[in-house]
């Protein structure tokens, strides 16, 4: 009796343990199921077109990809120095008491729902940017990028901090023994030793930015335009995620438009898989590297 219940529990736990694989496959299968018909309905060269205008059957997804890339790249340019700088401060410089205040603060930022950031973006950030840069509208790629930076900073900061923490203290002692200042040690030893972790942090930050929906949809103005030089930063754009979120509610199930939106979902899913799998394998490597340093 005892043995049988034990076996039931154990096998239940084993099945539950593998559930993640099942769900990941289910997501992929159902995206394919609803998205693949696109290939037969819209010729590939029109899918790669430069105009997204579903009412006239124009399903060019280039402007959407361009929009996603513009806000993502720009947001990382903002979030990288801020996130890494904050991590250096928390991990290397700040006294314990300051650290205990700062860490929860960054956690709070991670917890603020993106719809709230979008709300602040509409009411505070966009009007401010419109006045500051004298724009026709405040709903631009720039506003989106700033909000995305806020969203990816906690990811970048916490992973960078972990990476700095993982640098053995013997490295630092060696640098001090050679007469380096703390600052020289941070720049010359700790950061180079943590570079893989920092790279992972940036990749996951990119993943967060690329996949973020609500904040971007609310502040980027949602005009599907293609990147055309620096002016694109202060012009409205439309991202892949925002397109799905704003149009899926209005399309008829099974229509071409519906299939194309799922097709965009497939692209997003594949992007996120590539980013997450490559960054997860790159964090495992330092172990060999450290072994090399020791030998």
């Amino acid at each position: 009796m005892e043995k049988r219940s034990e076996r039931i529990v154990t096998s239940t736990i084993r099945i539950a343990g593998s559930s993640s694989i099942l769900f990941l496959m289910l997501i992929f299968i159902f995206l394919l199921r609803e998205g693949l018909p696109t290939i037969g309905e819209v010729p590939l060269e029109r899918l790669a077109g430069e105009r997204w205008y579903p009412i006239e059957d124009l399903y060019g997804i280039l402007p959407l990809i361009s929009g996603s890339l513009i806000v993502t790249v720009f947001s990382i340019l903002i979030a990288l120095p801020l996130g890494v700088g904050t991590a250096i401060y928390i991990g290397e410089i700040a006294p314990q008491s300051v650290k205990e205040v700062l860490k929860p603060m960054v956690e709070i930022l991670a917890g603020i729902p993106s719809v709230v950031l979008g709300f602040i973006g509409i009411l505070v950030l966009s009007p401010f940017l419109r006045r500051a840069f004298d724009l026709a509208t405040g709903l631009t790629a720039l506003s989106g990028a700033i909000l995305l930076a806020l969203i990816s900073i906690p990811t970048i900061a916490s992973i960078t901090e972990d990476a700095l923490y993982a640098v053995p203290s013997s490295y630092r002692y060696a640098a001090y023994a050679l007469g380096a200042t703390q600052w020289q040690t941070i720049w010359g030893v700790a950061i180079p030793a943590a570079r893989r972790g920092i790279l992972t942090a940036v990749m996951l930050g990119i993943g967060r930015s690329l996949g973020e929906t609500m904040a971007v949809m609310m502040v980027t103005g949602n005009a599907p335009t293609i990147f055309s030089g620096l002016g694109s930063f202060t012009a409205p754009v439309r991202t892949m995620t925002a397109t799905i979120a704003s149009e899926m509610g209005e399309v008829a199930t099974g229509s071409i438009h519906y299939h194309v939106l799922f097709f965009i979902g497939i692209l997003l899913f594949i992007f996120s898989l590539i980013i997450n799998i490559t960054s997860s394998t790159s964090t495992e490597r330092p172990r060999e590297e450290k072994a090399q340093v020791v030998s």
Partner: protein
């Protein structure tokens, strides 16, 4: 050689201690630049939103096309979604965490599970929405409902619950397991009676953080369970529901002439919800840390 050394000396523009001072101040400034917006946003919302908060606001149905009255259906909807998500993701997440920490050996299958968990954690929220629409709403025929939305949010929350459960179990010292087994307990008895209770604070923290994320999400419920307006509260899990994050989206972008105070009030309620859960999680964590004897 000598001249090279001289050049090296001359090119060092600032003393290295000065360089350190400048560098440290630069980093401090960057940190300030990161932290100020966080504080600013929270304080601003509290100041702008608190005048709207009243018993009526929290307990009444909306009136005049949501331009007056309360936000009761959005609050209860968020509670329903949270309960539904907890119902599915807690047992499954804890079981999967137990598997990874206690049963799994380091083989290809386990590595595949880990990659799947990492991948699930990175899937964009709107893609979860599409998946929920395809599987739960259409394929299973649950329709736009609390059930579909909760299931979608559960799968999204799962990676957080699994990883924190595993981490909490792993932090329980190996000796506890040896003692449990040596007293004649089976592996499952040892886990249930010894390991899990010790790891409970960590597990609960993970669950709260996972649910906190689910409560704030909008994109996954857009086409799986959220609705613009309900004249009454949902009566069954197969009803659609209003929810705080979606409500904020609707009243800030879709309803013209929406009183600004109601908007800030609604945002404040959601922020209080989320930060409250965050606070509870960190209290549990620090209490457990203080009490821990190993």
């Amino acid at each position: 050689m000598n001249s090279l050394f001289e050049i090296g000396k001359r090119r060092r523009l600032v003393n290295r201690n000065t360089a350190q001072e400048i560098g440290f101040w630069g980093i401090r400034l960057i940190t300030l630049f990161t932290v100020l917006p966080i504080l600013g946003i929270v304080v601003y919302i509290v100041i702008k939103g608190s005048p709207a908060i009243s018993l009526e606001f929290l307990t009444q149905m909306p009136r005049d096309g949501m331009r007056a009255g309360g936000i009761l259906p959005a609050i209860t909807g968020t509670f329903y979604l949270m309960a539904g998500t907890a119902l599915f993701s807690i047992p499954l997440g804890i079981a999967a965490g137990i598997y990874l920490a206690e049963y799994a050996t380091d083989n290809a299958w386990t590595r595949a599970i880990r990659i799947a968990i990492i991948s699930l954690a990175g899937v964009p929220s709107v893609v979860y929405g599409l998946f929920g629409l395809g599987l739960f709403v259409l394929f299973f025929g649950f329709g736009i409902s609390i059930l579909s939305a909760s299931l979608t949010l559960s799968i999204m929350t799962l990676p957080v619950v699994i990883s924190t459960t595993e981490e909490a179990l792993r932090s329980v010292p190996y000796e506890f397991r040896v003692v449990g087994l040596s007293l004649g307990g089976t592996q499952w008895q040892t886990i249930r009676k010894v390991i899990l209770p010790e790891a409970m604070p960590g597990v609960v923290t993970g669950i709260i953080l996972g649910l906190e994320r689910a409560v704030g999400e909008t994109a996954p419920i857009l086409f799986t369970g959220a609705t613009f307006f309900l004249p009454r509260l949902p009566r069954s899990p197969l009803d659609a529901t209003m929810a705080l994050p979606y409500h904020i989206f609707v009243i800030s972008t879709q309803v013209p002439g929406m009183p600004i105070q109601i908007q800030y009030g609604t945002v404040l309620v959601l922020i209080a919800f989320v930060l409250g859960m965050n606070l509870i999680a960190s209290i549990i964590r620090s209490r457990a840390r203080a009490r821990r004897q190993w």
